[in-house]
């Protein structure tokens, strides 16, 4: 699935990912390939991405995530590292 993490300032991540873990507001959850359509808000915490080349982590300060037809879109207000 393709994953985009964008903030108002820049595009933080854009590319293929096999699994993504989100800090959902009601607890952590993971999105894999062919996930059902989902909209969720995020708490402050780490977004962990599993890509072909390894694992990457971004700390987001709140945001929303939308999953639709293997396209995952994260709108974060701020991303730390």
């Amino acid at each position: 699935m393709t994953l985009d993490i964008i903030t108002p300032d820049r595009k933080v991540f854009s590319g293929e990912a096999s699994a993504v873990t989100f800090p959902g507001i009601e607890g952590q959850f993971q999105v894999l390939n062919d996930h059902a359509p989902l909209v969720s808000t995020l708490a402050k915490g780490p977004v962990t991405i599993q890509t072909a080349s390894g694992q990457q982590t971004f700390i987001v300060d709140g945001g929303v995530v939308e999953v639709l037809r293997n396209r995952v879109l994260v709108l974060a207000e701020a991303v730390v590292a």
Binding site: P8, K11, F29, A36, V39, T41, V64, E66, L75, E77
Partner: protein, 295 residues
């Protein structure tokens, strides 16, 4: 007629002024590019956010109540005025300040007479202009342009939103320059809070065909999204104003360089004329002297 030396000094000074305006124009052009890039960077976020808001509200049955939609009798007004930090950009700042003043005198004259209109200045020039006119000015976020980023603007937006929810203001309006093109800026006045609900657009109905799982409920997601879109609204205004500022400065400096060129042309003419007059005078004196000797 001015002396040769005076004209020469004048030419030198106009020349160096022209060099400065030329350099400023070039700097403004470079900054304009960066400002435009910033707008382009922000666009996908803003677009996706409003799309998402559309999808989620289409799924929710009731129009969610929000503290940001509370319409109260207008007692206290906050005007957020976005200007620039520096001058030398033509009528850029004057236009915004004038628009804000007209808005206040037309719409909020009674509140103004009771001293209930406050200004939140973003950009030094606006802060100065309103302080001079005796307004209550909140200068807390005046320096947002020093390091223009979403984080800064977000803090300003959050403070304004908080004081609206707390009831310190009943209306918040936003005045800024919108970037149309390098030469044209449009002064915009928008009501930021309370939110004016727009009629549902067509895109929302097509998106609702997908059966989303919402976590937590739609209402809660909407409650999260609304403040986000408000912050983006302010951020967009600040970015637009920033691009407009550099555009305005570019045109102003271009005009100044051109004017300096014309002035130089005139001065050179005067210089040459004076020089020739002096030479002619000297020759006449020599000829006159020689003739007197011959007699």
């Amino acid at each position: 007629m001015p002396s040769l030396k005076e004209v020469r000094n004048r030419i030198v000074s106009v020349n160096s002024t022209q060099q400065i305006t030329k350099a400023m124009k070039m700097v403004a052009a470079a900054k304009l590019r960066r400002a435009q890039d910033n707008i382009i960077q922000m666009r996908p976020y803003a677009q996706k956010l409003s799309e998402m808001l559309g999808t989620v509200s289409a799924g929710a049955d009731v129009a969610a109540e929000s503290p940001y939609k509370a319409v109260r009798p207008v007692e206290r007004v906050l005007m957020i005025v976005v200007t620039s930090d520096r001058g030398l950009c033509g009528a850029f700042n004057t236009n915004v300040v004038k628009a804000a003043l007209t808005r206040i005198s037309e719409q909020y004259a009674t509140q103004q007479s009771r001293g209930n209109v406050e200004i939140m200045a973003i950009g030094k020039k606006g802060g100065e202009a309103f302080t001079r006119r005796g307004f209550k000015v909140n200068n807390q976020f005046v320096d947002s342009f020093l390091n223009l980023s979403f984080a800064n603007v977000r803090a300003a937006a959050e403070s304004a939103m908080e004081s609206f929810v707390a009831g310190r203001y009943d209306v918040i309006e936003l005045v800024y320059n919108e970037f149309k093109n390098v030469a044209t800026q449009i002064v915009r006045t928008e009501q930021m809070l309370p939110i004016v609900s727009k009629p549902a657009d067509a895109t929302a109905t097509t998106a609702s065909a997908v059966n989303y799982a919402f976590e937590p409920s739609e209402e809660e997601i909407i409650a999260e999204l609304i403040p986000k879109s408000l912050k983006i609204q302010l951020y967009k205004a600040v970015l637009e104003s920033n691009a407009s500022e550099h555009g305005a400065r570019m045109t102003a400096m271009d005009k100044a360089t051109e004017n300096a060129g014309e002035l130089l042309k005139e001065l050179r003419l005067v210089y040459n004329r004076t020089r020739q007059a002096a030479i002619t005078k000297e020759i006449l004196e020599i000829v006159g002297g020689a003739e007197a000797l011959a007699n």
